[in-house]
Amino acid sequence: MTAAAPEPKANMGHPVPRYDAAAKVTGRATYASDMPLDNPAYAFLVTSAIAKGRIDGFDLDDARQVRGVIDIVTHENAPKLKESKLFSNGGYAGTTIQPLKSADVAHDGQIIAVVIAESYEAAREAANRVKVSYTAVAPSASFESPGTTTTAAKGQNAQFKEDPEVGDFAKAFDAAEVKLTASYDTPTQHHNPMELFTTSCAWMGDNLVIYEGSQYVYGLKNGVAEQLGIDADKVRVVNPYVGGGFGSRGSMTPRTAIIAGIAKRLNRPIKLVPTRDQGFTIATYRAETRHEIRLGAGRDGKLVALRHDGAEVSSRPDAYCVGGTKTTTRLYACPNVASLVSIVRADRNTPGFMRSPPEVPYLFALESAMDELAVKLNMDPVELRRINDTTVEPIGGKPYTSRSLMACFDEAARAFGWSQRSPQPKSMSDGDWLIGYGCAATCYPTQMAPSAARVRLQRDGRTRVEIAGHEIGTGAYTVIAQTAAERLGVPLEKVAVFLGDSDLPPAPVAGGSNSTASTCSAVMMVCDRIRQRLFKAVTPSDSLADKAKETVGISQAPSTQAAQSDRPLDIEKAFDALGVGIVEEYGEWKPEGAPLDSFTAMHSGHARLVGGHQMKDRIAYAFGAEFVEVRVNRFTHEIRCPRLVGAFAAGRIMNPRTARSQLMGGLIWGMSSALLEATEIDERNARYVNDNLADYLVPVNADVPGVEVILLSEQDDHINPAGVKGLGELANVGTNAAICNAIYHATGQRIRKLPVRLENIEA
């Protein structure tokens, strides 16, 4: 075993190499825009240079002169498209701002024209030559701008149902022995997945094929069909590999139906490859947030009052919000809790999911405040968490299905060397560098959604698993292959997995860290049906078949499950008994508590996620603890993070290799979020300024010399058949606070606004 492939502990699968590793490192993996098209035309977008106002007109003469230009599509001649509702209101769209519909401009970088040409270069050159005249109106950029409107989230957004509260916060806070009130800010951030927001559309008669990196092929298929006014069965979305999603590809963006409509009109496949900077405005982003936290505690550290008020920016028409109070009000034992989430409408594109959407900003606030409270109490911050640890969430009184928060703190603290910390701020240094240690809790709700799968077993053991899941870099192919191999008892190398195609059985959106739990539960169920069929063929008695199912595999090689006296089922004999060449099963799985319409919704591209705090009589979360060492240069005030250590418990770990990779990426992203990432907005015109990877900073290797991931063994039988909690979005939640807490320890300065940059450190 190596660092990349940790030794599996109890309730962990094997750290087998990635199913798609060789294809990816040799460049054979085909991403959406690698798909060959027959005689394609190329599209290039023209986007608005104002954030609010009207287009007075276009001067296209110069652009039309460019050799190879086929067409220039503006609102004056664009294909007519039907509206799609926001995903949270029962639709598919990430924004209801539909470009090319009128002369109105509602946000910076809105699509205002599409140039189609014989080559990408000609389309781009012509797009550069399009001249636009506008009547601009002063836009509201963000919180500070005049002209925004602020309203409570509750009642505006169907997915934000409640402002959690319990007890009497005001009274308890008043009477508390120790009080803390503090405000925290998080910035606008953009996902910037490596794969650009490309779309290729090809029609074959009335049938449309879309090649596009998507985290939800069924949602995109149904959404585009709705916008085009055609039957969803005529639309197929294909993306066997997705070059990163991070939430940006979870809901439909306006570009897809536009390109499909133009391709139909021109009767030619069209390939769109937008630029990196266009990606900042044609897809979604993490909106900036503001928080006020009030904590009241006894001198013993026990929380008696907690209030979390959050405000989030959204667009004028859409009430998107993440509402992380659902998590922060339930994390610690506290009898008196209040909360309020507000939405501030500005002249911006509609924000959307970005990895751990609610938890990243809201836990930054709470976990920073907990550290501040620990300082006030003169208490070790780990001990403050221990004192307030709970097995029951305080709002509804529901028990956690499992909760290893303090075990994670203890493991990570040991690995990190927390006991070496001298608690006084500014008390540790090394040459030019002040050293700070900090920690924070991390958590993410366990979510599941209905999923289908088709599994086909051949006489020679070859197995084909089909499911419209998504390989966004997480290891979906790998864990699905492992699940099928293990369940059927066939060798892993005999399993072929097919994902990323809406002609396959539906899987939910690859979001909310639900994919492994949902898809693997479906695959397990379908594999069990195959086993039953085979056992029944050779063991006619039902009772015997059931017994056999428990004790032996159907492996051609000796099964790991087979006890010494048992023999694997003779698969060839079973096939002969059945008189078939292939055994194939299709099945639909849904989690406990899924609504009645779940399967219908699943086929029409609506994922009904359940879990987290929304379970009937329990609450399910994955937990972790993160410890960081921060160094602040005495002279330059540069802030570096040489060590990140995280310990995580997330139910069954399907594959310690891919799990570690996900968690490591999360820790690094968390550091990036704390110290580097922010999309700068020019307040005068509500436009993004640093819309490229030279100016929107993400870490380079030199920024992350030490990252350690510890996987804790945890078994949870109350969540789903796979026993999986999901961990893709677990690790980047706690890091923001851990780093700010470490900066406080290094410098004595409490920074409550992200990202922390050298100018925020005072001399």
Binding site: A49, N128, T636, E638, E680, N690, D695, L758, E759
Partner: protein, 338 residues
């Protein structure tokens, strides 16, 4: 990117000819219809962004045969303009006798870029001002003379505090140029009438009322080499930036000292990341000469270096930061083992 013609210049005359033919005296060289291509790490980017729209590209890489030598001598150093940043940074004699040069190169860009980029192209790289690089902004005096400056009251955290004018506050982004200006480098320039020499300090022009004019190069001229007189083993390049690698300076200092028996006989201080052009802090240097070093002196020198600095809304922090960087660079130079 707009369509352009491509020509490969196989000797200096051919390059100069091709570039001169397209240049006109009343047009800034950055807008000349023919542009030289060396490493391509700035020009190609700006063409993709539609900021530069040359009709002709003159590829001067074949000139590397005669223009890429690295020649350390007993009385100085000569560097060909087409030498790659990575080769110069890795050169043992440069690391030993000119650490400020080696480190200014090593701490710039990424390994991939340093392998492509040339010294001449590096000193000619253009500003990273976001508004300059985004043609959807009409108001950029550097791109559209007389149109105004979007950065002045915009997002200007990365912008300059020294050498600014009311027309332009765009930062000169490079690192190597601070080492060159500190060490009194001389630029060797090849043009229509042969070769001429110019103090490196006279190569770049502060924006003043003509921010579109960035250098004193004449139409058709190319930088062919840099000469650095003397040796400067006691020299450092200190760079403060947001991330550990592959990032422009928020503030940097190139410092070179000649210390004998505890007395500073000669001192050079240049500043990066804070000025519109490669910046020599001569008033600051004057305070050092003939003095014994102490932290108080370092502070006075740092204050002098930034005496004329003017901050804007987001970049005022660079003044205090720049002073601390200068002071620390001086301390490092004084105490370094040579």
């Amino acid at each position: 990117m707009r369509s352009f013609s491509y020509q490969r210049a196989t000797d200096p005359d051919m390059a100069v000819q091709a570039l001169s033919a397209a240049a006109t005296a009343n047009n800034p060289l950055t807008k000349a219809t023919a542009q030289p291509l060396a490493g391509g790490t700035t020009l190609i980017d700006l063409m993709k962004l539609d900021v530069m729209r040359p009709a002709a590209i003159v590829d001067i890489n074949p000139l590397a045969r005669s223009w890429s030598a690295i020649e350390p001598g007993s009385d100085g150093l000569r560097l060909g303009a087409l030498a790659k940043m990575s080769d110069v940074a890795a050169h043992a004699e440069i690391q030993r006798n000119y650490p400020v040069i080696a480190n200014s190169l090593k701490l710039a860009a990424s390994a991939q870029l340093r392998n492509m980029a040339t010294l001449g192209g590096n000193v000619m790289q253009r500003t990273r001002c976001s508004y300059f690089r985004d043609v959807s902004y009409e108001n950029c005096n550097k791109r559209n003379p007389g149109s105004g400056c979007a950065a002045m009251d915009g997002v200007n955290r990365m912008h300059a505090v020294l050498g600014t004018s009311d027309q332009c506050i765009a930062t000169y982004p490079g690192d190597f140029a601070q080492a060159l200006i500190a060490l009194d480098a001389v630029v060797e320039i090849t043009g229509r009438s042969g070769t001429r020499s110019l103090p490196f300090a006279d190569l770049h022009k502060a924006p003043g009322t003509t921010p579109e004019i960035e250098t004193t190069l004449r139409p058709g001229e190319l930088i062919s080499a840099f000469s650095i007189p003397g040796r400067w083993p006691r020299s450092v390049y200190l760079k403060a930036r947001d991330r550990q690698s592959y990032e422009f300076a928020l503030s940097s200092a190139a410092v070179a000292l000649d210390v004998q028996d505890g007395t500073i006989r000669d001192a050079r201080v240049a500043l990066g990341g804070v000025a519109t052009v490669p910046w020599r802090a001569r008033e600051a240097e004057a305070l050092l000469k003939g003095q014994k070093f102490d932290d108080g002196l370092a502070q006075r020198v740092a204050d002098a270096a930034f005496a004329d600095a003017k901050g804007r809304r987001h970049n005022s922090f660079k003044i205090a930061l720049g002073k601390r960087v200068v002071a620390r660079a001086l301390q490092q130079a004084v105490t370094m083992e040579i």
